[in-house]
Amino acid sequence: MSKELISINGLEYSAPQNINFGLKINKFVLNKSDSILIYGESGAGKSTFLNLLSGTLNSKKGNINILGTDITKTSSSQKDMIRGDHFGIVFQTFNLLPYLTVKNNILLGSAYSRRKTIKSNNEEVKVLMDKLALNYDDLIDRKAYELSIGQQQRVAVARALIGKPEIILADEPTSALDKNNQKEFINLLFKSLDDNEQGLIMVSHEHKLSDRFNIVKNINEICEINND
């Protein structure tokens, strides 16, 4: 199989109904062991870009190949399945269900994917938590709301990585963290990735964390925004 995890060609998107917002992506590729940082101001299309990649928004034209499947031609339930099987997603903040334990929040990452379920067990939860500097014995049965923001974000990474999905999307995961924690978070994130199999896309409004990434791009280099 090729090294290509995602490839986008000639994609056009316009927001439904009354919103005047359009977006064009001529070419975008994510390969295995790539780590791409996309930075740009808010409103530049970062969220739309991520939603298109993960199949929660439908494009008008062009194609998005995820591991060889053109998701612009699949049903929405197939898109959900592909997202569940091959993606790990981390949000800015409030990543966890506050009333679930750490363990269940992490396992939630594989709850909707048969493929991930097979690969995930308590052992993997422990390995991931160790890699992310989360004390397994201390935290495993704690409710998510009892954790610090930094811990919560690392649990969110563990949830994204459980079941070894190929594509990791991170939407400004460090924005709620202070400087020291941001650095540590990025280090732990990279430490936890499997360099040979996984690819990472992180979007951020700044590029000061760019030294760990092998590709750094401004959102404007990827997307052409149309606000008419």
């Binding site: 339930s77 997202r83 569940g84 949000f91 269900l97 939630l108 909707y112």
Partner: protein, 467 residues
């Protein structure tokens, strides 16, 4: 497993609103359970009570009143019929057996039924079961009394217990008030002190005279007066039947007559000694009703005509089955109205559930986005919502069931003593399952509105919720 956990924990997270919704639903469901049970039990207890009785003959009056009074021991007794009438009617050759009963007295709130030993032999309940004795036998003496199982249990009587019968239909509580009045009465009649009883021969003639007016079944007879100089002795206790039979205190007609000797209505007019009473002929002058079974049930209409044509007294014959079904039609409407109201209450509770779900949706959009990010489809998320509703509905049914059991365990004695209704609350009936299924379905239907909302939200929001 984790998905179930998700629903369960999510509900726990909103425990207060869930608790309130479950409580409202549970109360309305328990109401439904209760009403259905009361209806069913009343119906079956009504139908079980009279078995094998083809006709009830009593003084002309409302069929319903006659039936309620003589069979269910509810309400004021209707008029009386003469003993001679009983004799004439029972001469009818269509009759297989006839059992006379005399009502109008009570013991601690339980009705006294004056009857013959044939009552225990001939009257059947629950489509043909014989009345059986738990202990003891039927009357062999004038002052023997047979108790229904409830009476014996509640008042803690056993064979040989001595009881006092109250004239009139008072409750146990009322009896005490009248007792104090009675003491005053005794003082007025002080010259007839107990010790002098044996010497009251002069009064005997007067007593004969008064017997003519002895109308213990008088409609206006609300007061209760203890015939405390006439102690009855328990000779037998009946097995439980689950019918009003259990609430009866049975004495012989002679016993009734003996008890009323020397009384006019509520007034004790003279003291009569026990020996005098036993010496006198204890033939009842009047009775309240006759239970009749015909040799051939098809002759019922001819028999009814015979009764209507009886010249000496205005009497009528009531067919218990027909009157029961008429009564049932009457109460059936009330019952339907009641059920309809209960049904409305359940709908209101379900509306509350919708309101709760919708109110919670906005704050749960983030939750939905997280689930979407891990691969949940909009329909997965909707199904979580539906499972939530099913859980709420089932828990409400369970709690409703428990509330119903509590209601009946608290109200059991009241229902039994006042209406002779025996509720078997613990068993699960067919219609319970129907109610539970209906409520789960209704809860699912009620969830459609928030489900549509959620579906739209999840599609619109995708992974990015601005909250």
């Amino acid at each position: 497993m984790i998905k179930f956990n998700l629903v369960f924990q999510s509900l726990l997270n909103r425990w207060l609103s869930c608790f309130l919704i479950i409580l409202t639903l549970a109360f309305s469901i328990s109401l439904f359970f209760t009403v259905s049970r009361v209806q069913e039990t009343v119906k079956s207890s009504f139908q079980n009570t009279v078995s094998g009785v083809d006709s009830l003959v009593a003084a002309r009056g409302g069929n319903l009143q006659i039936l309620l009074n003589s069979v269910f021991l509810i309400g004021e007794p209707s008029g009386t019929i003469k003993w001679q009438t009983y004799k004439d009617i029972t001469n009818n050759n269509k009759i297989k057996w006839a059992v006379p009963i005399s009502l109008g007295d009570s013991h601690k709130g339980y009705r006294v039924i004056g009857t013959s030993n044939d009552y225990f032999k001939e009257i059947k309940y629950s489509s043909g079961k014989n009345i059986e004795f738990q202990t003891g036998n039927s009357f062999s003496d004038v002052f023997d009394v047979v108790l229904g199982s409830v009476v014996a249990n509640k008042l803690n009587y056993s064979i040989g217990s001595s009881i006092v019968v109250t004239h009139g239909l008072s409750d146990a509580g009322e009896t005490h008030t009248f007792q104090s009045e009675k003491h005053e009465e005794h003082e007025e009649h002080d010259d007839h002190g107990d010790d002098d009883d044996h010497a009251d021969h002069d009064d005997h003639a007067k007593h004969e005279e008064h017997e003519e007016h002895d109308d213990h079944g008088d409609d206006d007879d609300h007061a209760g007066h203890d015939h405390d100089d006439m102690g009855f002795k328990v000779s037998g206790i009946l097995k439980p039947t689950g019918t009003p039979i259990d609430n009866g205190v049975y004495i012989s007609l002679a016993g009734i007559e003996a008890m009323h000797t020397g009384w006019i209505g509520n007034q004790k007019v003279l003291d009569v000694s026990l020996e005098d009473i036993l010496e006198s002929e204890l033939q009842p002058k009047t009775i309240s009703a006759i239970f009749i079974s015909l040799k051939n049930r098809t002759q019922i209409f001819q028999f009814q005509r015979d009764v209507l044509n009886y010249k000496n007294e205005a009497i009528s014959s009531v067919m218990p089955g027909v009157t029961l079904s008429r009564l049932w039609m009457l109460t059936g409407n009330v019952d339907k109205a009641f059920k309809f109201i209960t049904f409305l209450i359940i709908i209101i509770a379900l509306l509350g559930m919708i309101a709760m779900t919708i109110a919670g949706l906005n704050s749960r959009r983030r939750e939905m986005a997280i689930l979407r990010s891990v691969g949940a489809s909009p329909s997965n998320i909707v199904s979580l919502l539906l499972v939530e509703s099913i859980i709420i509905a089932l828990v409400s049914c369970a709690v409703g069931y428990i509330i119903m059991i509590i209601i009946f365990s608290l109200g059991k004695d009241y229902l039994q003593n006042n209406y002779g209704i025996f509720i078997d609350s613990f068993s699960i009936k067919n219609y319970d399952l129907q109610i539970i299924i209906a409520i789960v379905c209704a809860a699912l239907i009620a969830t459609i509105i928030p489900a549509i909302q959620v579906y739209k939200n999840t599609i619109r929001d995708g992974l990015s919720v601005k909250s």
